[in-house]
């Protein structure tokens, strides 16, 4: 008893030293051994967290009450530290280790780095803002950020100047809260826009703005660290245990994979046309339309659409019938279909060759792999379409001009943003403020749409735990009945737009 008691004490001390703060800059990598399982679990969980950060940031105004509530909920459910509880050692350890694992996965390309840095910054900002004022100062000092607080006397002398230079600063605020003195080189954004008082090379930054400075510091450090990590990556990748996991992570889709269909046989072929107008995401609508018009689809299109259909519940027999009936209307006769194309349909269902039961493509996969070329109809229209064409489409979706500019892909648009636009279509179609889900998979779009149209959503329904990883709690703002009428009208618009194509 004595023995184990002593051991506990030791661990206690160790805990206190290593993870004594809720928040960290991730300056030092972890130095322990962990199992591969833990390695994988930690990584996947942090990835889920970062994706949540991204989704919440897209659907709510950052740092608003809604935003904070949602993130709070997610962070606790995923078991990450945020509000500085007492027994947070395990969570902080996970936080530390998982960050460094994801660095390995996300350091390789500019796109990945940018995404990772953006989400980590948003997460950091959120957690920093949650800290008490005193803890904030502690954190700054512990991390060698030479941001001195200005003495009360100096504050008094400079009060008018401070008020005249900083946004949202009043006399009382100056007196009550800290003002930090920071070398101007560390506050360039504020200097550039002249939003801060400068004296003798120092920027005088009020408390509420210090987070911007800290964030810049965080970004610079992380950016440098990622560049360094990329250089040492080859050594890591040569470890066979890690390599598959790391490459999987950076393209990871962490939701349901629709490999196990719940609705097998529940869809009839006759329904597909109608369904495509109501519940298919734009990419699948395109493919369906192209198939109907040309009576043919090339391999890429067949794979993307065919697997999607499997995901919504088509059986192998139905699929074969579907494809054959369409192709036969074109240049392919029944014989040729059976010889050349039927095989590949069966292959999709895992009945040939390796018997791999292929899973329907996630949005990430659609966007990243196999870009379409002339004569192809697959891919993600938000990613692969001509920008002008896309703008027109968005206008038809009745997205506002500023919204169009916001979401229209530019060279710097990250891959994950495309699915948010797709969701906007869903929003407009169904007249909801909040889709209640973040789109990661075409089949998810279908499921959500079907659920919605069948009135399966109540206001503020509590979503059960098993669904948590793919959806956020629904919050529909209008009752569903009133919606369906309007939805019909809206749908009419949408249909006519599709006819114009």
């Amino acid at each position: 008893m004595q023995f184990s008691g002593r051991r506990k004490k030791l661990i206690g001390n160790f805990q206190n030293d290593l993870y004594d703060q809720c928040l960290q800059f991730y300056g030092q990598p972890p130095l322990e051994n962990i199992s591969l399982t833990e390695f994988e679990t930690f990584a996947v969980e942090r990835l889920k967290l970062l994706k949540t950060v991204e989704n919440v940031g897209v659907s709510c105004v950052k740092n608003s009450e809604q935003y904070t509530k949602k993130l709070d909920a997610e962070i606790s459910s995923l078991n990450f530290p945020h509000r500085g509880g007492i027994s947070e050692y395990e969570k902080r350890r996970k936080d530390h280790i998982s960050h460094f694992i994801l660095r390995l996965a996300y350091c390789q390309t500019e796109d990945l780095r940018r995404w990772f840095i953006q989400q980590e910054m948003d997460l950091f900002r959120y957690r920093f803002n949650c800290l008490h004022s005193k803890h904030k100062t502690d954190f700054l000092h512990k991390n060698n950020l030479k941001y001195e607080t200005v003495s009360a006397e100096e504050k008094k002398n400079l009060k008018d100047k401070l008020i005249a230079s900083s946004y949202g600063l009043s006399g009382t605020k100056v007196e009550e809260h800290d003002v930090y003195k920071v070398p101007f080189q560390d506050a360039l954004d504020l200097v550039r826009t002249r939003k801060v008082y400068l004296l003798a090379g120092n920027a005088y930054i009020p408390h509420h703005e210090i987070v911007t400075i800290v964030l810049n510091d965080f970004r610079t450090r992380l950016s440098k660290a990622l560049a360094m990590t990329a250089r040492s990556l080859p050594a890591v990748q040569s470890d066979e245990r890690l390599q598959p996991l790391l490459s999987h992570l950076s393209h990871a889709y962490v939701g349901q994979d629709y490999s196990i269909q719940k609705n097998i046989g529940k869809i009839s072929l006759e329904q597909i046309d109608a369904l495509s107008g109501k519940s298919f995401p734009l990419c699948m609508r395109h493919l369906h339309k192209a198939l109907r018009e040309n009576h043919h689809l090339r391999h890429g299109g067949r794979m993307q659409y065919g697997l999607f259909l499997k995901g919504i519940g088509l059986t192998l027999e139905q699929a074969l019938q579907f494809w054959r009936s369409e192709f036969v209307k074109g240049k392919v006769d029944a014989d040729k279909f059976d010889k050349a194309y039927a095989y590949s349909v069966r292959h999709m269902f895992g009945k040939e060759g390796k018997r791999t039961d292929y899973t329907p493509y996630s949005c990430m996969k659609v966007i990243l792999s196999n870009p379409p070329s002339q004569g192809d109809y697959h891919g993600c229209p938000f990613r692969h379409s001509d920008p002008e064409l896309l703008k027109q489409k968005l206008q038809n979706y009745k997205v506002s001009p500023s919204g169009i500019n916001q979401v229209c892909p530019t060279t710097s648009t990250h891959l994950t943003r495309f699915s948010t636009v797709c969701v906007k279509g869903f929003l407009k179609l169904n007249l909801v403020e909040d889709a209640g889900f973040s789109l990661n998979h075409p089949n998810q779009y279908f499921t959500e749409s079907q659920k919605f149209l069948s009135g399966g959503r109540d206001i503020k329904k509590e979503v059960d735990m098993s669904q948590r990883s793919q959806e956020n709690p629904a919050s529909v703002t209008h009752p569903s009945q009133a919606n369906s009428k309007q939805a019909h009208e809206e749908m009419g618009d949408l249909d006519s737009f599709f006819q114009d194509e």
Partner: protein, 431 residues
Amino acid sequence: MPTSDYDPACLPDLLPLYYRRLFPFSQYYRWLSYGGVSKNYFQNREFSFTLKDDIYVRYQSFTTQNELEKEMQKMVPYKVDIGAVYSHRPSQHNAVKSGTFQALEKELVFDIDMTDYDDVRRCCSAADICSKCWTLMIIAIRILDRALREDFGFHHLLWVYSGRRGVHCWVCDDAARKLSVAARSAVAEYLSLVKGGEETLRKVVLSDPIHPFINHSLSVVERYFQQYAIVEQDILCSKESVDKVLSLPIPVKFHNSLCQFWYHIKKYWKYLSCSHNIKKGGQYFDKEIMLQYCYPRLDVNVSKGVNHLLKSPFSVHPKTGRISVPIDLKELNTFDPFEVPTISLICEELERPRADEAEEDDVKDKENEQEAGERRRIRDYKRTSLAKYVKVFDRFLEAMARSWKGEMLKKSGELETSFSVFLTFMSFTYT
């Protein structure tokens, strides 16, 4: 006026004389070595020369003062530009692995060019300047000098007349030389108030609260505005130019009274700035107008780049013949760009015989060539109108030298401390 007529055609004859006997090489070298605090600082500095017939050569670099002199005397550049301090010797940049040759440090520089004010000056345009619009430069220097010193904490600023239509500022502090591109551009933007091109009428927009920097700048502008805009530029002299002023957003209700009012404005200017009864937008229109007419217009691109090349002080301006001389800020109000010596003047002054010097020459023949050359050169420029400007440069260097000494002491101090720690450690381990 002691200005000899300058003829560009004489440059090929005057320049060799200038570089041999007048150009202040030792001060120049002292400047760019920055006290030897950083190794190879001078050796890794890029110079560029514009030679006769507009031949432009970049990536010139030199290992010693002597080499610099010899090369300049040999190549006789019409223009000399100073660039950045690189990671390697610029003259060998081709031999360096691609990607590793990088600009590391450079002074923070500003270029104020009179042509940027053409829309608000009536006396001249393009490359011309006169004593009336020169006031703009005085205003610019006062505003920027104050801001760079008081707001940004810089100490070592060298203001130089460009030789024709503007001024340059070289900020030589250690911290300034190490600034990143982002930092330089942030400083330049902080200092920019006049924005917009041909199409923009209202180039200055002020809103509440007014930043202390703007207030400081306004107090400088206000000091000069009456004299400059009303008297010298006479912006109210004709209906046409009043219209131009009025085309700037002034609340309409003031237009009529302004038209009459402003014709008498020479006496009543002060009352405009006291009109507190303007509530909404455009409440600062009077300040905006003053700033639009007078506030310094900088080219952000010149300041941004670490590798940007800028005309060197003491370079000759090929079109005017004037030397780019340092400006003494204590005498700023009396600085006259038309009094700045031309190369022809100083060469002529050099040729004027001075009897008492002939003997000195004989005595000093025994010294080594370089020392003798320098001594002669110092005597030489002192005989010319260049003297007082070199003195300004000397004072600037002396002030900097004090800070270099501090740096060197710090560095040697660090060495001493670490050595003594080492000794202490050694003594412990052997106890």
